[in-house]
């Protein structure tokens, strides 16, 4: 089947989802009111609370939620065939992510722009705030671990991408200084920055960076050395002021994201590539099955709890009219779904022949360890359809993924430092409060230890448990989504509206996550992977806790509703 058909089917389904389902959500579930005074007007301060044009705010929201995760998850999940992956992306986006992201914006906007952590304490129970803190701790630990490995895999496999990936840092800092010091528009310096970045790609090809010598000197493998170097860099980067490196690099990421989406879809259309992967790949019975692992392997790209942090953290404070939430929240999740579609296309239509695909996806370990490599090769192929050298195209894709992963790790370690500080305060370790160096070191060392955990089935991962870490990351991401959906459901019930649109994805996510956690628990126990076993058990406890909190809160709300009806009659 031509890959173009998949684009038409997916984007067509997304259009129908927006046209009909989001309209239903806006009118019947969230009951949007165009006259409601949004926080951006009520608390306007020119910094956080700023009424913003809905098209611009969609751009802000989309570039904040999109990252490397909607690329990695689908690139692994096509191991079970393209059909389950694309079906989950379509259904998850329309009936899960759309409800979740849209609902998080509305719920937050109706509660003075408070974030989902504060809202969970207010709407569910006081204990839910602690639960939120712990879920975010595990989410960030796993985010930092997996993206550390992602970057190491790419640098080892594509040494030509190291120079352009590193050169992003001074370019971002220079544009940053321009923005900081000059008050005018920055389109021209921005274009110069992009030209310099793309010019660095052939330079990187000419001078690939190999660190074998350093690895031999340290007596470590090349990948271990890369992982340690990346975490060491993150230790320093996460201590810099946000405006110096993090924010300008995020700005370059936003531009890269749009460029990448355009060239991938253009490459597929121009090259008229065929999908070479099977619709359903019947894998051996003793390996991970698509049911339930698909639903945690693709989190970002189908439904992701991380989006609720952005939706309630910044977007809800900037919406001009409450009715804009439909366009921004729902279309933001469709944008993320489109990125997942691009990853699926690259890994099913960009890898040559069916035999090449079968060899690349010979086992779950090969699929997970090689996921990024497959995506990068696929994008290289699509760019060759546009007349660009495939190697340069692959380097471009590596730079996109690495800058995303680097920014995610920088943010992740920074946030983890704050979370650790709060946990230390709650646990009574007051001596740790304010100790930035110690907290940053802890925020780096914990995921570093996880990133170096050896894995049994990681043929493509070359000895690292990347696949297992990725599934654990998916569970924490879905738990965050579960918490946000619980808040949304209770809030919708409190307004005497039918909460089923939120309760159905909530139940589905919690069921799939619990199931996958139990299967992982058994598998880690059999393999003797004690560190992963402890992580999995801790996340399972949080899942059980969340289920109890969600059921209790929904029951309480139902009781209050019945009492109100009885009072009225």
């Amino acid at each position: 089947m031509p890959a173009f058909y998949l684009i038409v089917i997916t984007l067509g389904a997304f259009y129908l989802g927006y046209r009909f389902y989001s309209k239903y959500l806006a009118e019947r579930v969230y009951a949007l009111d165009p006259n409601f005074k949004t926080p951006s007007h009520e608390f306007s301060d020119g910094v956080d609370f700023v009424p913003t044009n809905k098209h611009i705010l969609l751009g802000h929201h989309f570039t904040a939620v999109a990252g490397a995760a909607p690329i990695v998850g689908p690139a692994i999940a096509v191991y079970w065939g393209w059909l389950p992956a694309i079906a989950w992306v379509i259904l998850g986006t329309i009936f899960g992510a759309g409800v979740h992201d849209f609902g998080a914006i509305v719920t937050s906007a109706r509660n003075r722009g408070q974030n989902i952590g504060t809202l969970s304490g207010k709407v569910i129970s006081a204990r839910a705030s602690t639960l939120f803190l712990l879920i975010i701790f595990f989410l960030l630990t796993l985010v930092n671990a997996v993206f550390g490995v992602v970057m190491a895999i790419l640098f080892q496999a594509h040494p030509g991408s190291v120079i352009p990936a590193v050169i992003v840092i001074p370019i971002a800092m220079c544009i940053g200084q321009w923005v900081y010091r000059m008050k005018g528009a920055v389109l021209i310096p921005s274009i110069i920055g992009l030209v310099l970045l793309y010019a660095a790609i052939p330079v990187g090809q000419a001078y690939p960076i190999h660190i074998d010598g350093l690895a031999n000197l340290l007596g470590l493998s090349v990948r271990t050395t890369w992982i340690i170097l990346i975490f060491a860099y993150t230790w320093f980067a996460s201590r810099l002021p946000v405006w110096l490196l993090l924010q300008p690099r995020d700005y370059i990421n936003g531009q890269q994201l749009l460029v990448a989406l355009v060239v991938i879809f253009a490459g597929v259309i121009v090259g008229w590539d065929q999908i070479v992967a099977p619709a359903v790949n019947h894998v051996a019975a003793d390996t991970k099955q698509w049911f339930p692992y698909l639903f945690i392997t693709i989190a970002c790209g189908a439904i992701s709890g991380f989006h609720s942090l952005v939706a309630s953290g910044t977007t809800s404070k900037q919406i001009d009219k409450e009715t804009d939430a439909r366009y921004i929240g729902y279309c933001g999740s469709l944008g993320e779904g489109s990125l997942a579609l691009a990853a699926i296309l690259a890994c099913t239509a960009g890898l040559g022949s069916a035999a090449d695909w079968s060899s690349a996806y010979s086992s779950f370990g090969a699929a997970s360890g090689g996921a990024l490599g497959h995506f990068v090769d696929g994008v290289g192929h699509f760019l060759s359809n546009l007349g660009i050298d495939a190697q340069l195209g692959a380097s471009f894709a590596v730079v996109v993924v690495v800058t995303f992963a680097g920014t995610t790790m920088d943010t992740g370690v920074r946030l983890q430092r704050y979370i650790l500080e709060e946990i230390a305060e709650l646990a009574g370790f007051r001596s740790l409060v304010g100790k930035t160096t110690v907290l940053t070191t802890l925020a780096v060392v914990i995921p570093l230890a996880l990133a170096l955990v050896p894995g049994g089935d990681s043929a493509g991962g070359k000895g690292f448990a990347f696949g297992q870490l990725w599934t654990l990351f998916g569970t924490t991401n879905q738990l965050t989504a579960g918490l946000a959906l619980s808040v949304i459901s209770v809030w919708v019930m409190s307004r005497n509206r039918n909460p089923l649109a939120a309760i159905v994805p909530l139940t589905f996510l919690l069921f799939m996550t619990s199931w996958a956690l139990v299967l992982n628990l058994i598998s880690f126990l059999q393999e003797g992977s004690w560190m992963l076993l402890i992580m999995d058990a801790a996340i399972a406890v949080l899942t059980a806790w969340l289920i109890v909190e969600a059921v209790t809160a929904l029951n309480r709300q139902r009781g209050e509703r019945r009492a109100e009806v009885a009072d009225e009659s």
């Binding site: 956080d48 700023v50 611009i56 751009g59 570039t63 700005y251 910044t314």
Partner: protein
């Protein structure tokens, strides 16, 4: 030509709002954090804590009272409980 200029200006403006505005906001946020600490220090007395700089900062109060109002709202107090300070 006039249309070209206007198109260029529009692209410039969209680019600025889309990519640069969040970043400028983060710079403003950082600056506001520093100002928040300054306001808290200058209004220590109003918070019930003896402040060594109060005597010298007294004449700044009329200029800072609006900033103080926004400050206590950001800190979660809709109105400031101490009579005669603001609100």
């Amino acid at each position: 030509m006039a249309d070209d200029k206007s198109l260029w200006r529009r692209i410039n403006s969209y680019h600025d709002e889309l990519f640069v505005a969040p970043w400028r906001a983060s710079i403003a946020r950082e600056a506001r954090k520093e100002e928040d600490v300054l306001v808290a220090l200058l209004f220590l007395e109003a918070l019930g804590i003896p402040g060594s700089a109060d005597y010298f900062a007294l004449e700044l109060y009329p200029d800072l009272i609006e900033a103080f109002h926004h400050w206590h709202q950001r800190m979660g107090m809709e109105t400031f409980p101490e009579a005669g300070v603001c609100c």
